[in-house]
Symmetry: C3
Subunit: 412 residues, 3 copies
Amino acid sequence: METAIFTANNVWMMICTGLVFFMHLGFSFLEIGLTRQKNTINILFKNLFIICAGLLMYYIGGFNLMYPGFGENSTGIIKFAGFGLTIPENGLSITYANGGYTYYTDFLFQGMFAATAATIVSGAVAERIKIGGFMIFTIIYVGLIYPIVGSWKWGGGFLDTLGFYDFAGSTLVHSVGGWAALVAVYLLGPRIGKFDENKNPKPIPGHNLPLAAAGVLILWLGWFGFNGGSVLSAEPGATSLVLVTTSLAAAAGGISCFLFSTLRYKNYDITMFLNGILGGLVGITAGADQMSPNDAVIIGILAGIIIVFGVSLVDRLKLDDPVGAIAVHLICGIWGTLAVGIFGKMAGIAQFIIQMEGIAIIAIFCLSTSYFILYIIKRTSGLRVSEKEEMEGLDQHEHGMNAYPDFRSNEH
Amino acid sequence: METAIFTANNVWMMICTGLVFFMHLGFSFLEIGLTRQKNTINILFKNLFIICAGLLMYYIGGFNLMYPGFGENSTGIIKFAGFGLTIPENGLSITYANGGYTYYTDFLFQGMFAATAATIVSGAVAERIKIGGFMIFTIIYVGLIYPIVGSWKWGGGFLDTLGFYDFAGSTLVHSVGGWAALVAVYLLGPRIGKFDENKNPKPIPGHNLPLAAAGVLILWLGWFGFNGGSVLSAEPGATSLVLVTTSLAAAAGGISCFLFSTLRYKNYDITMFLNGILGGLVGITAGADQMSPNDAVIIGILAGIIIVFGVSLVDRLKLDDPVGAIAVHLICGIWGTLAVGIFGKMAGIAQFIIQMEGIAIIAIFCLSTSYFILYIIKRTSGLRVSEKEEMEGLDQHEHGMNAYPDFRSNEH
Amino acid sequence: METAIFTANNVWMMICTGLVFFMHLGFSFLEIGLTRQKNTINILFKNLFIICAGLLMYYIGGFNLMYPGFGENSTGIIKFAGFGLTIPENGLSITYANGGYTYYTDFLFQGMFAATAATIVSGAVAERIKIGGFMIFTIIYVGLIYPIVGSWKWGGGFLDTLGFYDFAGSTLVHSVGGWAALVAVYLLGPRIGKFDENKNPKPIPGHNLPLAAAGVLILWLGWFGFNGGSVLSAEPGATSLVLVTTSLAAAAGGISCFLFSTLRYKNYDITMFLNGILGGLVGITAGADQMSPNDAVIIGILAGIIIVFGVSLVDRLKLDDPVGAIAVHLICGIWGTLAVGIFGKMAGIAQFIIQMEGIAIIAIFCLSTSYFILYIIKRTSGLRVSEKEEMEGLDQHEHGMNAYPDFRSNEH
């Protein structure tokens, strides 16, 4: 490949890597913004752990588990290419076999991706999970489960051979995180006070909505890298189309979700606007390179409406998901994956069925593995903090700290 | 055009698009930081609406209204190229006729720009405008007024033929927003408590200066894309000169504004430092590609001094502009546009007069159209919230929420 | 050089420039987060001053002092190439002699770097230094001391001839700032209340840990530009290796620091996690291009452990460093510089000795010059605020403002 193009591709992929890394700040802000002050340090700690431990686990084995080199038309299910990064033989500049960028860029981009799957779970289990148990779960899920699922499609495994399509991870990242979030929320139970004696849900407001809004804007920017980098080159037509479909779906998701929820609840609810944007982003992710701009707007509008129903469904199932992760990442992840069979260049009944098969297979695998991991943790070290700790806050008990220790208001 | 250069240009333009998008977080932080806590959700909501609805309006018609394809040496005033994005015929990678990047990149970069015009207004009208009316205004201003003005210069219309120069939008973006801000502030009237019984202005402090400062640093970074992307390619000499002039003007504006205001008011006032940086950025925008680094420093220094007088002038006119948008965007926008005729490669009395003509024509158009739109809204749905709502905060009344619902200080 | 490669290189270097600029927001958030609310405006003000005045000083003379054009195999110690930027003769696009990017990009990238040295000092002296004195110090240190030291290695001076290696500034940036921080902390003395009557250190908690955590994530992202841009081109192999070593060292530093401090203090201390990440980043900086990924992990792990001992050492020396700048930037800066002689491609006893020599020479120069500057300031305008001012907060006294003037908690 020509040097100049290779350099430009690699620059783009490195930028996208930085943007996906930056999403971890977005997730952190969103999570702490939508939860109570007394658990803020705990959430930040978990998010720092996810990005650091996630990257190290992906380095140690995850990358080689996810891209094992299955053969053409493989029905490969599992294979492991070894520990650590193999330093390319003929110097550092070696072209990665499958793309117009280096082996190191490939690892780092994929590593930043991997850590996001655990972050999705983090939001759903916030304010009541034991930090030790969560850390064990993160290590296994990022180091083992996520790469195995990824290898089936992006590593050239059996789902790829089947024809399953997931451009940037509506299923492979968002639903993989979302299924585990569902299991974790079920095993943990709701936070104290989330449901009243009649089992009706009560809102537990977060403590810093400006940070939550900032988190969503940062995530939108990060998605430029998440989807834009999934082109795996800087090919101008494909990358720029992907940024357009991504942004239009986000905008449409935000507007439709806020309009629909305003009609329903007579209230300009900013958390609905925020989750609508995220829903649009997750929804477009599976087919961002296959859709026309008009398709993207429609997918975003529907994602926004799905969010309103999804949040309400989670409540009705008596599940407690403080940040709406199940509606955003799981339900809109499914929606986006199905949308590949409904809209755009791949639309068709055959493709739709394949998309459903892929979703189902991954659902079964993620539900069972995350249930197994979390159940073991629950039965051994325990999954949930004590009632006293939950009431007084995890920051005080697990960290001996306060998020705003010297903060004073100006009322006196 | 050679593929590798085209790819590099397109990568740069996509990055700049991301940076201009990121400015919306900068504007949000600046606005909420400089206003009271009780209106924080409302401001965030408006800013989310601006970026989402602005992008959709620009998609539906704004882009085709702004770049209608006026002929060479046109005296075109208005033309409309149709609804939605035209999918390029020969595949996604097609080169956009006028630049070294794709059609999709062009749309998204310009769309992110368009939304900033409404954001400027948002800051000036904060804490008292009805959200419904503001949303209607945003839709019309971003979807119709901004693209028409833009078409006159950037779309190849009559101001372009006239020789008017505005590199990245001191007038076409900042003053277009600034004139509407002036009209809106006039029609709305000052916030309760802004002027005492003797009509003397009283400061109404904001609630979160760290976020305001963060907003300005984010805006400075965003300006790398705003001005750097206005080169419309990655041409190394032009882009890097633009980043240098932009950053030097920002630095000089900040220093001169804080020094001058400290001399005048005997106080290291951080809001002056912040607005000085922004004034320098707006001031360099019209001629960022025409100036030497020395010119940029002088333009920045003068912008900083203009801010001190501008903020004081707005007060003396009994106008209430909570974030200083009129001084920053309108007055420094005019200053920057005139500076093209005073400094740099285009300096000259003839150019200076043309710059004045452009400013005047756009002023008349923006003042009259924004007055018309806002007056209609005022007479129909109403522009200003009730006194009770203003006193108790827009968050409570329009959104039924609080920005920091669970926030507790540590005094007890 | 071929145009397309040159363009791609220049794009990468401009992005890295933006990322290094963005580090100033990271430093600001970290500093205000770890200090008390009453000094927040003061710290933000200092940080705005550093970036603005630093850039202007570097423009006026620093750049030409740092890159004076020493001859090949020079033993040059000081030389000055003139004031301001020399506008390249043959048009704007001229290639900078030594690299694949423009002269303007070179200036701006290096200018953003220069300002970070003063920022390191800012954190250590927080909450008690007079702003006037700090501004004078910043001007001299960024305009004079930093460029002289830089010229010895990066400007082709005698340390370069000696064979001293410092890829991106573990010593040339971080220790240069760190030595001055050490002197300043010594001359200033500890904050009131930092040590009890028995000289035992007492923690003085900061006021906003979410912002501190955000600062560290922003700094990590900024380091993509700090280290990635230090390749001085977009050469794919070198840049992508550097991003991998940088990120792995950060991740390993964070994990090892938190694990080690948890073992020692039985507490999941988030500030240790944060400083461990920073320690890993500073530690890899000198040899980010010379290390294998495995080396990077080891360097990071050791940096994390060094932080735990370093923070405790600073306490035992009765020094008061509110943000841990000495442990992070000075001690890990030394560690990273020595690591070049221990790990990676340059490892060897001869190199190790040269690294020690370089560290020692720069230590002597920075300690003596910063002592001289700060001592003069102390004897003339004074270095430390009055006891009353320190107790009541610098915001009130130097700025007449409050960082959160309208902030109200929701307890009542």
